[in-house]
Amino acid sequence: MFVTLKPSVFDPQGQTILDALSSLGYESVRDVRQGKFFELDVVADSAQEAMTISTEIADKLLANTVIEGYRVEVDAKREEGD
């Protein structure tokens, strides 16, 4: 799950990183936004169910939807005994 500040929210950390990159000579980098990455190990009957659970978790806890947006990617794996 990727959680990032909404585009309308000023990101001072991203801005600071951008300035640092500029000092390092990477003038081709136009913008930097810093976010969070969560890896959830979810046991579910389907990728869809895992997506539903993850989305709920994102809305409830992992993202503050006032200022953050998120994207969930499910990597489904069958386990022994399924």
């Binding site: 001072p12 806890l61 992992l62």
Partner: protein
């Protein structure tokens, strides 16, 4: 007047709040552990400052799910006065009891300094004994004090007079240079629509005795006491 001071793992301004209401103002005060679901007949609830859950994930995020918060919600829904100071303000925002969110200070640094705030409304339980426009010198100590809300919501807050404290200079004038953290509208504290829940970033509980640099914060707690008697 009985104050309930909620303690979360990591709260560290709980004793400052206790000292202010119990020893300086002579009121009753109880510490309520975050897992308790009994506010013990409190008249006013205080969510103190600190670093609940180490600010893990987001400041105040995990604390907003503590069992005690269901009781605080009930208490607030029934009109009970609730004040959230610093981390307490963050918790109230995460719990949805106040609108908006707090971002990292715009210059990224943790700020530990005195500021001035102007009282923008005196019809809340925590500003009722203050004068409109009164300037209070209070300390701040925060890294995520940059209040943010979308422009439409900001317009609502201003129209509804929900901005309770605004950063200013000693003469009460606002400007970007006296806004320590970049918060939108120089907002230092707000209230809910019903006006019984107030959150602010500065620490009035650390400004109740002139020996400690300022006693401008007393009026916040004196207001709560007076509001109950009224």
């Amino acid at each position: 007047m009985k104050f309930a001071i909620i303690e979360f793992p990591g709260s560290n301004c709980d004793h400052d709040a206790y000292h202010a209401v119990r020893h300086v103002l002579g009121q009753q005060a109880d510490f309520i552990w975050h897992k308790d679901t009994d506010l013990r007949g409190a008249d006013t609830v205080v969510l103190p400052g600190g670093f609940s859950y180490g600010d893990y994930l987001r400041t105040g995020a995990i604390a907003s799910f503590s069992p005690v918060m269901d009781k605080v919600r009930e208490f607030a829904a029934a009109g009970g006065p609730v004040i959230g100071i610093c981390n307490g303000f963050q918790i109230l925002l995460e719990a949805g009891l106040l609108d908006g969110a707090l971002l990292r200070n715009r210059r990224l640094k943790f700020l530990c300094q005195d500021v001035h705030v102007r009282v923008e409304a005196t019809d809340t339980p925590f500003t009722a004994s203050a004068e409109l426009g009164q300037v209070l010198k209070l300390p701040i100590a925060h890294r995520e004090g940059n209040y943010h809300v979308v422009p439409e919501r900001l317009a609502d807050l201003e129209a509804n007079r929900q901005v309770i404290f605004r950063y200013c200079d000693s003469a009460g004038l606002t400007s970007d240079s006296v806004n320590p953290n970049g918060s939108v509208g120089s907002i230092a504290g707000i209230c809910n629509l019903r006006r019984n829940v107030v959150g602010l970033m500065p620490h009035p509980e650390r400004a109740c005795e002139s020996l400690l640099g300022s006693d401008d914060g007393r009026v916040v707690f004196e207001s709560a006491v007076a509001a109950l008697v009224a």
